[in-house]
Structure formats: structure tokens, C-alpha cells
């Protein structure tokens, strides 16, 4: 992998997280490919992708758009007061992909903090991004969020870890 491509991929991951932290959700959604998927499996990294187990969230573009539209509504009661979030990322690692293919897979350990009023929620885990390189730029085919404690009793998680 040439250093330039690697730089581009890592910048993309950082950019994605920055859009979420800035709550620029429409721009964030535009990073997804048409068949893009955002997936938070209930067994975290141990979960196979065979549909036999549930998820905290498993969303296509339609459902992601629903989430984003809802957040814009003044009647989204749970957003009074509003939530905000901060992603803290480690340096991504490229696990798959070479210069001849348009597909890349990256792993990025993270800490996610979501706050609302007096409450603070912290999640940790690892992202697995599957990216496709298109003429228009990189797009997310899959953002898999493997939490360390996906099966724990969790309070409401309102934004996007």
C-alpha cells in the first residue's frame, strides 16, 4: 500500500468521526454508499454476519435518514436537553486492500462519549470499516461498531457511536 492511499483512508476515517461530533449528520450520511450499512452487533466482535443474532442497531440508508430526520424535530423529546458526543480514535489499521482493488477494510479502536444534561455515557470498542473507492471518492459500504460490552444493560444511546 502506498503511503498516499493510506493517508487518504486514514483521513477519511477521521473526517467521518469529525462530522458526527459536529452533528453534521446529512453530510455524514452522504459518506455511505447506496447499499451502505451501519451495524452495531449485539455480540460485538464475536458476531458472525449470518443474521442469526440481533443487533443494537442495524441500519440501511433509509433508517439512518429516519434517525437523522427525527433528531431535527423539535418534538424529539429525548433531545431536551440535546445530546452531544465525542469520538476518540486510535490510528486505523489497514487489514485488507491493495492498490488494484477499490475495496479496503480498516480497523479503528475507539472511545465514544455521549453526554446529555448531567449524564455521561462512555463506550469503547473497535470500528471495522469496509470502504469502496468510487470516482466520486471513498464511500462506506459497512461501518461495523464492535463494542466491548454490547450485551451489558445500557442506557439510551442517542447519537452514533
Amino acid at each position: 500500500m502506498d503511503a498516499q492511499t493510506e493517508r487518504r483512508l486514514f483521513d477519511f476515517i477521521a473526517h467521518e468521526a469529525r462530522l458526527l461530533d459536529a452533528q453534521r449528520f446529512d453530510e455524514w450520511l452522504a459518506l455511505f454508499a447506496d447499499n451502505g450499512r451501519y451495524w452495531v452487533p449485539l455480540r460485538g466482535g464475536a458476531q458472525a454476519d449470518d443474521g442469526s443474532h440481533n443487533a443494537l442497531a442495524d441500519e440501511d440508508r433509509l433508517l439512518l435518514a429516519l434517525r437523522i430526520e427525527r433528531l431535527k424535530s423539535p418534538r424529539a423529546h429525548s433531545q431536551h436537553p440535546p445530546s452531544s458526543c465525542q469520538h476518540i480514535l486510535q490510528q486505523p489499521a489497514l487489514v485488507h486492500g491493495d492498490a488494484r482493488t477499490p475495496h479496503y477494510e480498516l480497523r479503528t479502536p475507539f472511545v465514544y462519549i455521549e453526554v446529555r444534561g448531567e449524564r455521561q455515557l462512555m463506550l469503547a470498542g473497535c470500528y471495522r470499516h469496509r470502504l469502496i473507492d468510487r470516482p466520486g471518492g471513498l464511500r462506506i459500504e459497512l461501518k461495523r461498531v464492535d463494542l466491548l460490552n454490547p450485551g451489558a444493560t445500557l442506557p439510551a444511546i442517542q447519537l452514533f457511536p
Binding site: 443474521g51 443494537l56 427525527r70 423529546h77 442506557p155 442517542q158
Partner: protein, 438 residues
């Protein structure tokens, strides 16, 4: 300070048409619930499919008591206290697993058979001539006396007071029958994992909401409006994605919820949506209907499938949905903290689509990341805080109150009638005070 020592103190908290805020806020009442209410009522513990083989166990805490449901060598199910007879260590600390042929305490290695009977003790000779054999510690793990596996749904009653299983649930068990009979072979399996939420509100508040049809319009406005906006412009017969099929009906109006109807049973149980519900519109499957008719006869099959209640409450711990095949378990942790579990069911002999519906519904509506539940949870926590305000000690349950409702045991009403909640609180008083002194 003890304020609630006598029956009359408890009864005074629940009037004909309203309840005192202390039932949600007061820590002493929560302790009394642990001691009396949950000892006198039947609580859901687990599903038999979670312990398929001999030695499989499921560890659950009910009303502060650590319990173990264990599959026996002869295929039966027993429920033991998860407590070593020696000094009290929990025998297992995983949520579920297999203990093999016997339990072995991690502390001093006392061992027990699967039914809890003592098997072996290290340094046995040291107990010769002592009174160990004649006391509780010599008798092994303690088994619960009142355990019933009704069509694989396992319930326990901790104390000896209170009604037996059949008289406690009565006709309310029809909700479990409806769910299990959706399988042509009469069997369900828990699969796909559990979604677990901890909500900072009293458990009764959550339970009331399961019977509340007036809140969806206002509470879920943001989610249903967003869904409508995204779905707008689609032709009326466009096939809906499963998520839309499940979310859009939350926006149904007051009239819809009123007409869906409700039924109450003695001891706090109820069914909401006896005529139809937000689940009635799911696409049907011809092959599956045929398989059900072959298994149960055309009439019974139609009866099963036409019944898709919004919620059936097996008071106080279980809320079932026949379609999608899913259920919630309410597990109180403190006066202001409640654990809610949402489980998915695989219907044996039915198309995989049913299981997909079950998982999708739980994920969309009951996940900690649900777009629908965020507003519910926020409002439960709001109420828990708001009720601390003074000047009004009461919570109103007046809607639809009719003095003639007293003395009726089973009753059918309009879907927005708060009698479903009044019924729960009347049962709450009954089982709170059943084993109190005066």
C-alpha cells in the same frame, strides 16, 4: 423510619381512580415489594429453550434473590437458590452455561447434584460427630417449591402465600397459548440474544406504559413524522420495508387506539388490542397459514392469526406480543431503576421471516439505540423526577372510571380506558398486603 407497617397504610396509597406518588418514589415501599409483593406473585424466570441439555443453567435475580434454573438429568426443570450451602458463595457467576453433571463451589469445593442435593465435601472426616447433617447447611442447595413451566415459559413464586399458578393467571394464559400455537409444532425457541436497557424509573411506571394507548401520538411524534416524511410519495401498494411496516403504525390516531379495545383479568393481567392493533397489518404468508391450518384446524388457525394484541401483560413481570413473536421482562432494581429485557422468539416450523420480524421489532423499538424508545425512556425518567414536586401527591388514573367496574373480574373496555392500570394497582395492593400482619 417505617411508614408502611400496616395493611391500611398500603391500601391508602391506591384510591379508586388515582394512586399516591409514593408508590413510585418511596424506597421503603420498594423494600416491602421485594419482601411481600414479589414473594406472593408469580414472576417469569426464563424459557426452557435456554437450558436445552442436562446441566444447562440460567442464572437470574428475582426480587434480589439469586436463582438458578437448571435442566435435570430426567429432562425436568428445577429452580435452586444460587447459594452454596457452606458459606453462601454463588455456585455460578455466569448468566448461563452448563455445569456438567454436578455443581462444584469455587470456594471450598463442596459439590451438589443437579437437583441441589449434597454430593461430596472435602475433609469429610472433619464433620464426623458434628451437627452438619441435621442442619440446613447439610441439606444442600435450596430448591424453590413453586415452579411451573407453562408451555416452556418458566414462572416462580418465591413464598408460600399467594394463589397457585392456575388461579393466579387463569384465562390470561391464553396470551401464551396464542404465542406458542403460532408454531405448527407447538414450540418456540429463544434466539438472537437479548436487548437489555436500564431505565431510571420505577418498574410500575414502565408496566403502566405497556397499557397506555394515549401516549404514542404525542410521545412518538418525532419518530412517526420522520418515518412519514421519508415514506411520503410512495404509491399506496408499494411494498413496505419491514422497518416501515413496523414503525409507521405508531402514528395511528386516538380513535384507532380507542377502538382496538382492551380486556382485564383478575390479579392485574390484561390484554390490549383485543380487536386489532398496530401489529395487525403485517403482510400475511400463505404457506405458513396453510401449515397452521393443517396443525390446528382452519378455525383455530384463523383465531390464532387474527389475534395480534398490542400487548398482553402477565402481571407483574412479563409483556408478550403474539406478533411479532417477542416479549419483554420487567426486572425492578430499585425504586427508581428498572431493567428491561427484550427477547426474540424463533417459531419452530414457521418461515424465517417471522424470526426476522421479531428481531427487527425488538431492535427498532426496544434497543438502547431505538429511535422509538428514546422518547419513552426520556418521559419515564421525566416523570420519576417530576413526581418529586410537591402540591399534588397523586397520579390520575381517572380515564374511563366507572364505579360499576368494581366486582367485575374479567371486563372488556375501550382501548384508551385507564382501567388496565387501575387493575394493576388493585392487584398490587392485594399482593403487597396478602402476607402482612393486620
Amino acid at each position: 423510619m417505617t411508614r408502611f407497617r400496616r395493611r391500611a397504610d398500603i391500601a391508602a396509597l391506591v384510591q379508586d381512580d388515582r394512586v399516591h406518588r409514593d408508590v413510585y418514589l418511596n424506597e421503603e415501599l420498594f423494600a416491602l415489594e421485594q419482601q411481600h409483593f414479589f414473594a406472593n406473585t408469580w414472576s417469569y424466570l426464563g424459557h426452557a429453550s435456554q437450558v436445552p441439555a442436562a446441566g444447562d443453567y440460567l442464572a437470574v435475580e428475582i426480587a434480589g434473590r439469586p436463582l438458578l434454573m437448571v435442566r435435570q438429568g430426567d429432562g425436568g426443570i428445577r429452580v435452586l437458590y444460587n447459594r452454596c450451602a457452606h458459606k453462601g458463595s454463588k455456585l455460578v457467576s455466569d448468566d448461563c452455561g452448563s455445569t456438567g453433571k454436578f455443581f462444584r463451589c469455587p470456594y471450598h469445593a463442596w459439590t451438589y447434584r443437579l437437583d441441589g442435593a449434597p454430593l461430596a465435601i472435602p475433609l469429610k472426616s472433619g464433620y464426623e460427630g458434628t451437627r452438619l447433617k441435621d442442619c440446613e447447611s447439610g441439606r444442600g442447595m435450596v430448591a424453590l417449591k413453586h415452579v411451573v413451566a407453562y408451555r416452556d415459559f418458566v414462572f416462580v413464586k418465591i413464598g408460600d402465600a399467594g394463589p397457585d399458578f392456575e388461579s393466579y393467571f387463569g384465562d390470561a394464559l391464553g396470551a401464551i397459548d396464542n404465542l406458542v400455537d403460532r408454531s405448527p409444532v407447538g414450540r418456540l425457541r429463544i434466539e438472537g440474544g437479548v436487548l437489555r436497557n436500564v431505565i431510571h424509573c420505577n418498574w410500575k411506571m414502565y408496566l403502566e406504559n405497556i397499557n397506555d394507548t394515549v401516549h404514542p401520538m404525542s410521545t412518538h411524534e418525532s419518530a412517526t413524522q420522520a418515518a412519514n416524511a421519508l415514506w411520503q410519495g410512495q404509491p399506496a401498494d408499494a411494498p413496505k420495508p419491514m422497518a416501515m411496516e413496523q414503525i409507521l403504525p405508531f402514528g395511528a390516531g386516538y380513535d384507532f387506539f380507542d377502538r382496538m379495545g382492551g380486556r382485564i383479568y383478575p390479579n392485574g393481567h390484561s390484554v390490549l388490542g383485543i380487536n386489532f392493533s398496530i401489529h395487525s397489518g403485517y403482510a400475511q404468508m400463505r404457506d405458513y397459514e396453510q401449515a397452521l391450518s393443517d396443525a390446528h384446524g382452519v378455525e383455530r388457525a384463523a383465531e390464532i392469526l387474527q389475534r395480534s394484541p398490542q400487548n398482553s401483560v402477565c402481571f407483574p413481570s412479563l409483556a408478550l406480543k403474539g406478533s411479532p413473536q417477542a416479549f419483554r421482562v420487567i426486572r425492578p432494581l430499585a425504586a427508581d431503576r428498572t431493567l428491561i429485557e427484550a427477547w426474540s422468539l424463533r417459531v419452530e416450523g414457521a418461515p424465517a421471516l417471522l424470526f426476522e420480524r421479531s428481531m427487527t421489532y425488538n431492535r427498532l423499538v426496544f434497543s438502547p439505540m431505538s429511535v422509538v424508545a428514546h422518547d419513552d425512556v426520556h418521559l419515564f425518567e421525566n416523570m420519576q423526577e417530576g413526581l418529586r414536586g410537591e402540591g399534588n401527591d397523586w397520579v390520575s388514573l381517572h380515564r374511563g372510571f366507572d364505579p360499576a367496574e368494581f366486582g367485575q373480574t374479567t371486563l372488556e373496555v375501550n382501548g384508551t380506558n385507564e382501567i388496565l392500570m387501575r387493575n394493576q394497582f388493585r392487584a398490587w395492593v392485594k399482593f403487597m398486603t396478602l402476607s402482612m400482619q393486620d
